[in-house]
Symmetry: C2
Subunit: 355 residues, 2 copies
DNA sequence: TTGTACGCGTTATCAC
DNA sequence: GTGATAACGCGTACAA
């Protein structure tokens, strides 16, 4: 077992260690301070030949400063956290991509936390924020109660909220223009000749984006002369119930001589609604109109294609990240709310109903 | 503009700093060393009353040791990187979830890198591996040429490959059993009465998983008495071309009195194939059989439902992470290859063709 | 212009 | 048993 001997001396476990600033200094025959200055662009206070030697030593040793050590020194890690409710939701991934771009451009590294819809893991994410000294955090999901994590826990680290707001938190908030999205959808349905709309949404449960869409929906209805509608909350695993509800609702509408359409509140709700419709043997655009918020890969494929209102996910992610980075860099201004418009993509599922 | 004044003094920007081990020591009236011992569970070498005081001080100050400082000390960060070719691919996300579970259970934090199918960003990820002193990395995509990053770059950090292997790298490799998956699919097609199969795959381009599936496909055909087939590589944005190819191929098959089916090589290929079929006005299971590797959200919704062979994504992610963690903890053994089986999910798209 | 010395938060080694 | 102290890699006053 001679290979299990542990030499207690300095470099036993890592065969090839990273080059340090000291190594560079030695190779270039200068002091660590000079190397540091070179790295920080203080070349104006450096003799050209020294800069030259340092430059070569760095290249030769393939040296990169250690962000960890830098973090220890002045509290910044150039790490940004992104906590999403559920990576499984394509919306989250799309926002991630946007945020990633902005972070990369600004020299930050994006760290993903998947909260998996579990409240407890949100606390973990907050702990990680301070433990790993992340410079800031983009938060997509959040317990609906604001009090749970006091700002004191953040140690002054900035936070930007995406998609879901929380009353009583003064943090920047980036979201799609929910009333606008609802209006796009309902204007379109109305123009196509539908007049009875069912909003299928995930359980509202205090989630701000769902509340906002529901309220915009109801407000639109209250002002419309022709549109009527109602709301159905579809929980996780009660597909049959949704299916039954859809059947009853449609029958009543048709018997009343109305033209029914379903509006799905987001991508998940769209999937549930499409599944229920599929299970009933219906075809979107045939027995009823269908429109969904959130564009998805599969929207063009089901039936004659699903009409959707796409969120500007990439822009949302970028805006959130840029917003956060400004805060990190010390911008002091009252909390902002950034609202971006959605875009309608018309397909066959909202073809004008036969009279 | 009085609020734009910058105080250059010490604690202006961060109002509330984290508690340090020194704070705890002072509050508990002991030395930092004792606190450290307490934290590392050396309570057997600690006077009970001291332990008590330290315990209280820690609770009172809400103290947590700084992973960064620990990293500086002994090179481990308890951070694991996961570099995926493309977060947009649901397969990546599913693997991520599995890996996350295992990491969480072992007290590691998973950091996601989205390579966005760009070769350059893979180098960035490798740099981050050493710069942020990640303890290891799970790699999904990799430039097809192995030499590009020499092991020297890793500074002895372990790497585990997922889904895509690279010749000449001795790293652990976790993958679905590709020949088994192909066999499941073709056995099923044959049993249903199909005898002319087109494998639609993303461009092979040296990607090991695609190569493996293609080879297994061809091998199966060469041994089968009834099945014939061919391969079509579908590139990113040439939907029309795929569509045209499908039409020609099917017509030839039918004219020869054969029963055609498409086998899509992964989720992305499934989407492309389904789109082309949709654009041709065909229905899966009607004009031709369709089966896809990778289960997707939308598989049940298109036509009579798409038959798929699901990869054990969660298990793949977990296995990869566990594997890596063993390496991190010093396990020395020759590089392993872990192969997990797939599962077939039969739906209407592979209904027996009418004679 | 350049080098020396110290501190960031931890842990490990040594004396006490 | 316990406490001072030296490192880890880096930035930066301060001294030269």
């Amino acid at each position: 077992m001679s290979d299990s001997v542990q030499r207690p001396a300095s470099p036993p476990p890592r065969p090839k260690a990273r080059a340090t600033i000291a190594d560079v200094a030695q190779a270039a025959q200068v002091s660590k301070a000079s190397v540091s200055r070179y790295l920080n662009g203080r070349t104006d206070i450096l003799a050209p030949d020294m800069a030259e030697r340092v430059q070569q030593a760095i290249a030769q040793l393939n040296y990169r400063p250690s962000p960890m050590a830098q973090a220890l020194k002045h509290g910044r890690t150039r790490l940004i956290g992104l906590a999403v409710a559920d990576v499984t939701n394509p919306f989250s991934v799309a926002v991630l991509q946007g945020a990633e771009k902005a972070c990369q451009a600004a020299g930050y590294l994006l760290v993903l936390f998947n909260l998996g819809n579990e409240a407890g893991r949100e606390r973990d994410a907050m702990h990680a924020l301070s433990a790993y000294q992340l410079d800031g955090m983009i938060l997509n999901r959040v317990e609906t109660s604001a009090q749970l994590w006091h700002d004191a826990q953040l140690h002054g680290k900035p936070i930007v909220l995406v998609d879901r707001f929380m009353e009583g938190m003064d943090a920047d908030f980036v979201t799609v223009d929910n009333p606008g999205v609802i209006q796009l959808a309902l204007d379109h349905l109305q123009a196509q000749g539908f007049d009875e709309v069912l909003l299928v949404t995930e359980p509202i449960a205090g989630v701000s984006s769902r509340t906002a869409r529901q309220q915009a929906f109801l407000r639109y209805l209250s002002r419309s002369k022709v549109l009527q509608g109602s709301v159905w909350e579809s929980a996780a695993h009660n597909g049959p119930q949704l299916q039954q509800q859809l059947a009853q609702w449609r029958q009543a509408a048709v018997q009343a001589g109305r033209r029914p359409a379903v509006l799905a509140g987001n991508g998940v709700a769209s999937l549930r609604a499409a599944s229920a419709i599929h299970a009933l043997g219906w075809v979107p655009g045939q027995e009823l109109g269908v429109i969904g918020i959130d564009e998805t890969d599969w929207a063009p494929l089901v039936g004659p294609g699903l009409t959707t209102v796409a969120q500007p996910t990439d822009a949302l992610g970028q805006a959130a990240a840029q917003c956060l980075i400004e805060r990190i860099q010390g911008k002091h201004s009252p909390a902002r709310k950034i609202e971006l418009p959605g875009t309608i993509i018309v397909r066959g599922s909202t073809a004008s109903p036969k009279r």
